[in-house]
C-alpha cells in the first residue's frame, strides 16, 4: 500500500542547484515520513524524472509518470514553463498541482483552477508584501510617498508577473516605480546598475532568477549601491544566489516563505534519514538551506493534504488525485499542527478553501549575514490582500472566458 508521488525534477542545467535542493528536501521528508511509518500506515513512493527545466520534457515526464503506480497523488514541477504546459492536463487528469511560490498567481481562485494550488503565497501577494515591508521600514506605507523604487526584473513572464500589483500600489501610495528589465540570462548588468546609480532610488526590488541574482549583487557592489537597500524576491534569496557573490551579498535582504533557522523536523531528518544513509543531498551541510527547507515545506503540505484526505475518505487508504485535491482545498496547518510536525514557524500557517487555494499570502524578510540567512521580520508580513484579490478575480475570470470554464467550487 503506497501513495505515489511523481517528481519531475531537474538536477542538471542552469537551475540544477535549486532543483537538487528542493527535490532533495522533499525526498528527505518522504524518507522521514516513511521511517515514521508512513501516513497512517501508507508509505510514500516517489519517482524522479529529469526535466532539465524544459517545458516539453517536463510535459513528457508528467505524462509518463502520472498513471504509474496506481496514479499520481499530486505533482509539482518547480518550473513555471512546465506548470503552464500541464495546467490544462492536471484538470483533465484530476491530479492536483501545487506551485509553491511560482506559477500563475490567479490560480489561487479554486473556482476556475480547481486543480492548481499556489500554496502559501503567490507572486502578487509577495509583491504586495514587499511594498508593505518597505513601508514599515519607513514607518508606514503612506511614508513611501515620493520615494523611488526600482523594479529590476528578469525580462520574462516571471519578472513581469508582479507588475500589475506594483503599478497599482505605486499609484495608490504615491511612490515612483522605475522598471528596469534584465535580458535573460542576466550575466551582465552593468548598464542596468548604472541606470540605477543615476536614478538614485531608495530601494531596489530584485526580481531575479538564476545567475542574474549573484550578478546583480556583484554589480551593485562595484557601482557602490548598498545591498541593504536591495530587496530580493524569494527566488533570489537562497544560498545559491548569495554565495557566489561573496562579500557583495552581505546585508542583502530578500523575501522568503520560510523562516531560516533550525527545526526539530530537520534534526529528525539528520538523525533518521541521513544517519541511516538515505539522505538525498550529497552535502549534508545543505540541510536547512533555503531550497532544501522549501522542499521540506512542500513535502509537509503534500503529506498533510493526503492526511487530510484520508480523514475524509478513509484512513490508511491510498488516495486518488481527486481525493488529494479535496485535501489540498481543506488544508489547515496551523501553529498547533506545525508544532506537532516539528516545524513550528518554519512557514506561515496555511488554511485553504475553494476561494483561496493559496492559504496564506504571508512572507518574511531575511537578510544575508555573509554566511547565512537570518530573519529580520519577527512576524509574518502580508500586503494589501484586497488589491491582489481584485486582480486575481479579474485575471482568472479572463482565463475562464478564454477556456469556457464555468467558475464553480468542486464538491
Amino acid at each position: 500500500q503506497e501513495q505515489y508521488i511523481p517528481l519531475p525534477s531537474y538536477r542538471v542545467g542552469p537551475y540544477a542547484a535549486g532543483g537538487s535542493g528542493f527535490y532533495g528536501g522533499a525526498i528527505d521528508y518522504f524518507n522521514l515520513v516513511n521511517a515514521n511509518g508512513g501516513i497512517n500506515g501508507v508509505k510514500i513512493k516517489w519517482e524522479e524524472c529529469e526535466t532539465e527545466y524544459n517545458a516539453s520534457r517536463g510535459v513528457e515526464c508528467y505524462e509518463r509518470m502520472k498513471a504509474k503506480n496506481g496514479g499520481a497523488a499530486l505533482v509539482d514541477p518547480l518550473s513555471t514553463g512546465i506548470a503552464y504546459g500541464i495546467l490544462d492536463r492536471v484538470a483533465t487528469d484530476k491530479i492536483p498541482m501545487t506551485t509553491l511560490g511560482y506559477g500563475r498567481s490567479d490560480a489561487a481562485n479554486g473556482k476556475v483552477f480547481p486543480y492548481v494550488f499556489p500554496l502559501i503565497t503567490s507572486y502578487w501577494n509577495q509583491a504586495a508584501a514587499m511594498v508593505a515591508y518597505l513601508g514599515s521600514q519607513n514607518g508606514g506605507v503612506e511614508k513611501l510617498k515620493g520615494k523611488k523604487i526600482v523594479h529590476l526584473y528578469h525580462d520574462s513572464a516571471f519578472g513581469k508577473e508582479p507588475m500589475p500589483v506594483l503599478d497599482a500600489e505605486a499609484a495608490k501610495y504615491g511612490f515612483e516605480l522605475i522598471k528596469i528589465p534584465v535580458a535573460h540570462p542576466g550575466n551582465e548588468q552593468q548598464s542596468q546598475w548604472l541606470q540605477i546609480r543615476q536614478a538614485k532610488p531608495d530601494y531596489v526590488i530584485l526580481w531575479g532568477w538564476g545567475v542574474m541574482n549573484a550578478v546583480a549583487l556583484k554589480t551593485a557592489q562595484r557601482n557602490g549601491f548598498p545591498r541593504e537597500k536591495i530587496l530580493g524576491v524569494w527566488w533570489a534569496g537562497s544560498e545559491e544566489d548569495t554565495i557566489p557573490a561573496g562579500d557583495a551579498a552581505k546585508g542583502y535582504t530578500t523575501m522568503t516563505f520560510n523562516t531560516p533557522g533550525n527545526y526539530p523536523v530537520l534534526d529528525d531528518i539528520r538523525k533518521k534519514v541521513y544517519d541511516a544513509g538515505r539522505g538525498n543531498l550529497d552535502d549534508k551541510g545543505r540541510i536547512g538551506s533555503v531550497y532544501h527547507m522549501r522542499g521540506v515545506t512542500a513535502a509537509i503540505l503534500w503529506t498533510e493534504a493526503i492526511r487530510k484526505a484520508q480523514e475524509k475518505f478513509g484512513k490508511g487508504k491510498v488516495m486518488t488525485g481527486e481525493q488529494v485535491r479535496w485535501g489540498f482545498e481543506n488544508l489547515n496547518v496551523d501553529d498547533a499542527r506545525q508544532k506537532a510536525l516539528g516545524a513550528l514557524g518554519m512557514f506561515p500557517p496555511v488554511k485553504t478553501s475553494c476561494d483561496d487555494h493559496e492559504g496564506s499570502g504571508a512572507v518574511k524578510v531575511q537578510q544575508w549575514t555573509g554566511s547565512k540567512w537570518v530573519p529580520i521580520t519577527p512576524n509574518w508580513v502580508t500586503g494589501d490582500k484586497a488589491l491582489t484579490r481584485r486582480l486575481l478575480e479579474e485575471s482568472s475570470a479572463k482565463y475562464a472566458t478564454e477556456k469556457n470554464i464555468k467558475p464553480a467550487c468542486a464538491s
Binding site: 529529469e50 517545458a55 510535459v59 509518463r64 504546459g85 520574462s156 513572464a157 477556456k403
Partner: protein, 352 residues
C-alpha cells in the same frame, strides 16, 4: 531478397517521377500510414499520444521547415523557435480577435505571418552566409521573443505574457482528447510533408538546392538568388509557424514566449542534423531520435537505481556522446543510414 526493383519498369515519366518509385516503398509507406491512422489510435495510451507522438509530429513538422531552409536551400538558421512563436501567437490572436474564424484558417494565417517575418529576417541571407548567417539568425530568435514579451497586445494584455491557446474546434467537432489531437496533427503533418515533397521534386526544390550547392552557378543558369532564398525563408517559416501553432494548441495548451527559446531552436537543428540534412524522412527520424532518446535514457538511468543526480548527469553525457557517435558513424544522418541499409538490402545477399 524482397527489396528488389528488378522487374519494375516505368513506362511514363509520370510514373518515374512518383514520390516513391519503388513498389516496395509504396507498400511500406501505405502500411505505415494505415497503422498511424487506423491502428495507433486504438492501441496507444494517452501518454504515448500526448507526450510522445504529438510532440514527435510537431517537432518533425518544425524540422521539415528548418530542413527547407538549411537542408535544401543551404541557409543555416538558429531562429526556428522564433518563427514557431510567431505562428503560435499569430494564430492565437486571429482566433481571439476574429470571431468565428476557422481554426485551420487561423493556423494557416499564423503560418503566413511567420512567413512574412521569415522574409524580413531572410533579407540578410543575400549577403551573409554560413556561420555568420547562423549567428545572425540569433537576432531573429532574441528579437522576436523580446517583442512578444514586450508588446502585451500580442498576449492579450496578460500580465505575465502567457497565452492560453483556445480550444480547437473544427466544424463543430472539438479536438480535446489526446487521440483527436494526434489525428489532427498527423493529418496536418502528412499533408504538409507531401506538399514539401512535391516542391522538392519540382522546380522550386531544384532552385533551392541549386542555390545551396553553388549559388554563383545557379545565378548563371537563371535562378534568381534573392527570390529563391526568400522563398525558402518564407516557406520554411510557414512550416515552422504552423508547427509553432500546433505546439501551443495541440501540445502545451498554455505557453509563455520563452517556451520558444533558443533551446528549442537548437533541438530542431539537432533533429535535422541527426536525421539527415536535406531529407524529408530525415526530419522524422531526427525528431523521433531527439524526442525518444532522453526518454529512453531517463528510463534506463532510473532503472539502474543510480543516485538521481548521477543519473541525470550521465543521461546528459550519454546523450552528447550518442550525438557524436552517430555523426561519426554517418555524418549525413540517420536518413543516409537508412538509405545505405536499403542499398545493401537491394544487393543482398551479395556484398557489392
Amino acid at each position: 531478397m524482397f527489396y528488389r526493383e528488378a522487374g519494375q519498369f516505368k513506362i511514363t515519366y509520370q510514373a518515374d517521377s512518383q514520390i516513391f518509385p519503388i513498389r516496395q516503398d509504396r507498400i511500406g509507406v501505405a502500411l505505415l500510414l494505415a497503422v498511424a491512422f487506423l491502428v495507433v489510435p486504438f492501441v496507444a495510451s494517452p501518454y504515448v499520444f500526448s507526450a510522445v507522438l504529438i510532440p514527435f509530429l510537431i517537432f518533425a513538422l518544425a524540422a521539415l521547415g528548418l530542413n527547407i531552409l538549411t537542408g535544401y536551400a543551404g541557409q543555416l538558421s538558429l531562429g526556428t523557435a522564433a518563427f514557431m512563436a510567431v505562428g503560435a501567437f499569430a494564430s492565437y490572436n486571429f482566433i481571439l480577435r476574429v470571431p468565428g474564424i476557422p481554426v485551420l484558417l487561423a493556423f494557416v494565417l499564423g503560418g503566413l505571418c511567420a512567413a512574412m517575418v521569415g522574409i524580413v529576417f531572410g533579407l540578410p541571407s543575400l549577403r551573409i552566409r554560413g556561420f555568420y548567417l547562423a549567428a545572425a539568425t540569433l537576432a531573429t530568435q532574441f528579437f522576436v521573443v523580446w517583442c512578444l514579451t514586450k508588446i502585451s497586445w500580442f498576449t492579450n494584455n496578460s500580465s505575465s505574457g502567457v497565452i492560453t491557446a483556445q480550444k480547437i474546434v473544427i466544424l463543430g467537432y472539438e479536438f480535446d482528447t489526446p487521440v483527436s489531437k494526434y489525428l489532427l496533427t498527423l493529418c496536418i503533418v502528412c499533408v504538409m510533408a507531401v506538399l514539401l515533397k512535391n516542391m522538392i521534386r519540382t522546380n522550386v526544390g531544384r532552385s533551392w538546392m541549386a542555390v545551396r550547392d553553388m549559388d554563383v552557378a545557379a545565378e548563371v543558369i537563371g535562378f534568381r538568388p534573392m527570390r529563391t532564398k526568400l522563398l525558402a525563408f518564407a516557406v520554411s517559416s510557414f512550416y515552422c509557424g504552423v508547427a509553432g501553432a500546433l505546439y501551443a494548441f495541440a501540445y502545451l495548451g498554455t505557453v509563455e514566449p520563452e517556451a520558444y527559446s533558443l533551446d528549442l531552436s537548437f533541438r530542431i537543428l539537432f533533429m535535422i542534423i541527426i536525421g539527415g540534412v536535406g531529407s524529408i524522412i530525415g526530419a522524422f527520424f531526427g525528431s523521433a531520435f531527439i524526442v525518444l532518446l532522453p526518454i529512453v535514457l531517463n528510463i534506463v538511468a532510473h532503472s539502474l537505481a543510480l543516485p538521481t543526480s548521477v543519473a541525470s548527469n550521465l543521461e546528459l553525457m550519454v546523450f552528447g556522446a550518442l550525438i557524436i557517435f552517430f555523426l561519426i558513424v554517418e555524418p549525413h544522418g540517420l536518413a543516409r543510414l537508412w538509405q545505405i541499409a536499403k542499398e545493401k538490402l537491394r544487393l543482398w545477399p551479395f556484398p557489392h
